[in-house]
């Protein structure tokens, strides 16, 4: 701690002069000299009021007003002018801090000066090489420096876009002045007076100014680039906590951010919502006996912001609601958690649902897409999340129904399925990585066998169900499949049902009880005979497989039929 730190502050004010006045007073009371630049767009009346409020504070000066527009060189010009006046009026200044009228000092100014005094020759300015990793959010990177930007982005958006595009097509490339390497960074910095003077008095300043005048958002690159030229002790981190959303707009700070901000130990934060009165009176924290020179710790507030950005950009998987209604295949997660579908098992084992409930530690449902009723496990009058058991209600939005069921419950959801059920979710389930599906094709023929219906009806329904399941299988055999599907035909399944069930059940629920016994199976006698009759009536059964026991039928007839 050799020289005492004498802090100078440049305050850029655009609107909300009431807050700016307050901030100017805070800085001035903390012992800093303040140069205020008020945007020329602000009315004279408001400015007069601000001047009157700040009259009598002799360490505050007002600098000539310039009309500033976002992303243009006018902001840099205003900063340059203010810096020049500040250094002229208060030549003893050792550090200059650039802040806006909505930047709120969180810790006492004495903390900041103590922190700066730890390494008095260090320049605190975020400065990232423009050609390296993308620092910017939602904007151009190196093209900021290699194209011309004569048009205002806010006011002449279309002209701006068109001109940028045109230059790209014409492969126009500006020459960057020799001796500088473009750097980007937060526009809020704290430079030593030495570095700042060197930038302002650079013999080539006119050349640099001319160059930056037509670059894009020079307030994020002018000082960041030139500081590299004149300083070799750069601490590339801004002292101002300023967070941007995914489109590059700054976040606002409200009363409920007080604990997070206090925990961040940042010196200055922006930008404050003007109505956050409690926040404005809470900060800056009062002076302490011994100034605390500790630096900022922004991890927790970074996490808060990152979570919010993530929510805005990616959203919560499996959520369909009034402000999140993703297009097909843009869902970032069609459902929120893994789930399993058993197809055909209830046809082979009539008591399969009860059996499964006893074996698994998950929620087992019946045919929740069934035509007569939404068969929630335990058959309640109202399903989880107050979902209706009426299939008409469910079929208004089956996808929303399934996603809601999975999202509202805490345990894994398992349900039964068959070609008799609503088929609208076939693509949805097949393309959902959360889905785990066990399919036994052709199993639906077993209930038909025992239906006792006349043969003509059996044939008609058989044809219908077979067509439905074939359509579904064409989905499961497509290249778009994301679900994990285990496919067996009835014949294959019946060779080793216990093993297949054991493996599948283990894969969806590691805590499942080992499969030692199977539930009672539907009688298979007569199946081969029924299939033979169907074949002879001109309907080829295609889904039951070749491994079905020929049963009592002699094989000669089959050969004859082929």
């Amino acid at each position: 701690m050799s020289d005492p730190v004498r802090l100078g502050v440049i305050l850029l004010c655009h609107s909300d002069l009431d807050i700016a006045t307050r901030m100017a007073r805070v800085w001035s009371d903390g012992g800093a000299s303040v140069a205020i630049h008020v945007d020329a767009k602000v009315s004279e009346r408001q400015l007069a009021r601000m001047k009157a409020d700040l009259a009598g504070l002799d360490r505050i000066i007002f600098t000539p007003r310039i009309r500033c527009s976002w992303g243009r060189f006018s902001l840099v010009r205003a900063t340059q002018n203010a810096a020049t006046s500040l250094l002229q009026q208060f030549p003893e200044t050792t550090h200059v801090f650039l802040a806006s009228g909505t930047c709120l000092p969180l810790r006492p100014i004495s903390d900041l000066t103590a922190f700066l005094a730890e390494a008095p020759s260090r320049d605190h300015i975020e400065s990232v090489n423009a050609y390296d990793v993308g620092w910017t959010i939602g904007g151009l990177n190196e093209e900021r420096f290699t194209l011309y930007f004569p048009f205002d982005w806010r006011k002449r958006r279309r002209l701006f876009d068109w001109f940028t595009d045109w230059q790209r097509r014409r492969k126009i490339k500006r020459r960057i002045p020799a001796g500088i390497w473009p750097h980007l960074g937060s526009q809020w910095w704290c430079l030593t007076a030495t570095t700042l003077r060197a930038i302002l008095d650079d013999p080539r300043r006119d050349e640099f100014d001319r160059y930056f005048r037509l670059s894009w958002i020079p307030d994020e690159s002018y000082f960041q680039t030139l500081a590299r030229r004149h300083s070799n002790k750069i601490e590339s981190r801004s002292l101002t906590l300023s967070k941007f959303d995914h489109t590059g707009r700054p976040y606002q700070l409200y009363d409920d951010h007080i604990p997070a901000l206090a925990g961040s130990r940042c010196f200055v934060a922006r930008k404050v919502w003007p109505g956050a009165q409690r926040l404005l009176t809470h900060f800056p924290l009062p002076d302490t006996e011994v100034p605390d020179a500790g630096g900022p710790q922004t991890a927790s507030i970074d996490r808060l912001i990152n979570e919010t950005v993530q929510r805005r950009v990616l959203g919560r998987p499996g959520l369909y609601m009034q402000s999140r209604y993703p297009r097909k295949d843009a869902e970032n997660g069609k459902t929120s958690a893994p789930y399993a579908v058993f197809q055909g098992l209830t046809d082979i084992f009539p008591d399969f649902e009860e059996w499964l409930t006893a074996h698994l530690s998950v929620d087992v449902h019946g045919h929740i897409l069934g035509p007569e009723e939404v068969e929630f496990g335990g058959r309640p009058q109202v399903g989880p999340g107050a979902l209706s058991i009426n299939p008409l209600v469910r079929d208004r939005d089956p996808q929303g129904f399934l996603a809601a069921l999975i999202r509202i419950t805490n345990r894994m959801q398992v349900f039964q399925f068959s070609p008799r059920d609503n088929q609208r979710l076939n693509w949805f389930i097949a393309t959902d990585p959360n889905a785990r599906v066990l399919v036994v094709t052709g199993a639906w023929s077993l209930p038909l066998l025992h239906s006792g219906m006349p043969f003509d009806d059996v044939r008609r329904i058989f044809a219908q169900l077979q067509r439905t399941e074939l359509e579904q299988l064409s989905i499961y055999n497509s290249v778009w499949i994301k679900a994990r599907v285990d496919l067996f035909d009835l014949g294959d399944f019946l060779i080793s049902p216990r093993l297949i069930l054991q493996q599948f059940v283990q894969s969806i629920d590691p805590q499942a009880k080992p499969v030692e016994s199977l539930p009672p199976m539907r009688e298979l006698t007569g199946l081969a005979e029924m299939l033979r009759q169907l074949r002879n009536s001109g309907l080829r059964p295609r889904l039951t497989g070749d491994n079905l026991r020929p049963a009592e039928q002699p094989s000669i007839e089959r050969a004859a039929a082929e």
Binding site: D245, G315, M321, S323, A330, S388
Partner: protein
């Protein structure tokens, strides 16, 4: 609702004609409204305005006004549709209320939307306007710590002109008239239960808005005809411009862009909820009266279903109902979202 059939024109043109027709209709029918107290001269530049149509809601008004004053509404514009209780007199005494009176049929004024569109056109230009019913209470992310002005200024900063708030039907545990509602009371002390996850969503291709249905009304009254069950999607908060118009209730607006309040790329945009305190002790009486008047949407089908349901002593509460806590609970359930409002 009137829908013009103009097949040969592009969608853009058709929608423009529809919007202008609705607007012209609202302006033409302005004389249906007689001013009772007009304090609109007090409206200042950045005030947030509330637009309300009501009929015989005297007992609800004190809490309603109190709630929205605390939230940050600066001026209320009421249309009193032939109340025969004390509503009109009570409202005209409030310093921040402007009141219009009309005896015209609610139904023929497109369920009050002609009146509201006219008032919005006349007084809403360049204000954030909240269009609600006296039994709807807005909840949005951070609404416990941040006033409505914080929300609107942030929406403006991110360039969003409209804010969705789905209707969330609240109901008591037990029969509806078990706990009589007292004037000034928080209705959600009684009706504090809601359905967490049984909402169906469909996209309306014509207007671009989402059509949300479900909740306790669909579950109990409309289970056999879910298509007819009431729409729950609403866009009540809009930075108004003279060119805008509400199409049917506050479910949809024109121009179409105002209805696109949802993200289609998987992200979440900000949204809130209108807690619907319809199912209080006052409801039984009201449904009988409304049934007589036949002034409601689709021939008061809704009220007929209610009346039928209520007489056979139906309960809305079920074991899967959730008790309302705060906006964080609604956000966790995915009914509302903070979007990127950290």
């Amino acid at each position: 609702m009137a829908r013009l059939r103009l097949p040969a024109l592009s969608r853009q043109t058709r929608l423009r004609i529809e919007r202008q027709w609705l607007l012209a209709r609202a302006i033409r029918r302005r004389r249906a409204l007689t001013p009772v107290v007009d304090r609109t001269a007090n409206i200042r530049r950045d005030d947030i305005l509330a637009f309300v149509t009501l009929r015989n809601e005297r007992v609800r008004l004190p809490y309603f006004l109190d709630y929205y004053r605390k939230l940050g509404i600066n001026h209320f514009l009421f249309v009193d549709n032939a109340s025969d209780d004390d509503s009109g007199r009570y409202l005209s005494r409030q310093p921040d209320v402007s009141l219009w009176h009309t005896d015209v049929s609610y139904k023929r004024a497109r369920f009050g939307m002609d009146w509201i569109n006219w008032l919005l056109w006349r007084h809403g230009h360049r204000h954030w306007c909240l269009t609600i019913d006296p039994d709807e209470f807005l909840v949005y992310p951070h609404s416990d710590t941040r006033p409505l002005g914080a929300l609107t200024s942030w929406l403006q900063a991110i360039g969003q002109r409209s804010f969705p708030a789905m209707l969330l039907d609240m109901y008591p545990k037990g029969a509806i008239d078990d706990h009589p509602y007292q004037e000034g009371q928080d209705p959600f002390e009684i009706a504090c239960w809601f359905d967490p996850a049984n909402y169906t969503i469909q996209k309306n291709r014509h207007l671009g808005n989402l059509w949300i249905q479900g909740g306790p009304r669909t579950r109990t009254f409309f289970a056999n005809d879910p298509v007819a069950s009431p729409a729950l999607n609403k866009i009540p908060l809009v930075r108004w411009n003279r060119r805008y118009v509400y199409v049917s209730s506050t479910h949809a607006l024109l121009p179409r862009g105002l209805n696109i309040v949802y993200d289609e790329d998987g992200g979440e945009r900000p949204s809130g909820c209108l807690l619907h305190a319809k199912f209080l002790s006052t409801f039984v009486e009201k449904s009988a009266e409304e049934l007589d008047r036949r002034q409601h949407y689709a021939d008061s089908q809704e009220y007929r279903a209610y009346h039928h349901g209520l007489q056979s002593d139906l309960q809305l509460w079920c074991p899967e109902s959730r008790e309302y806590r705060d906006w964080r609970q609604l956000e966790e359930l995915g009914l509302i979202s903070r979007g990127n409002w950290a």
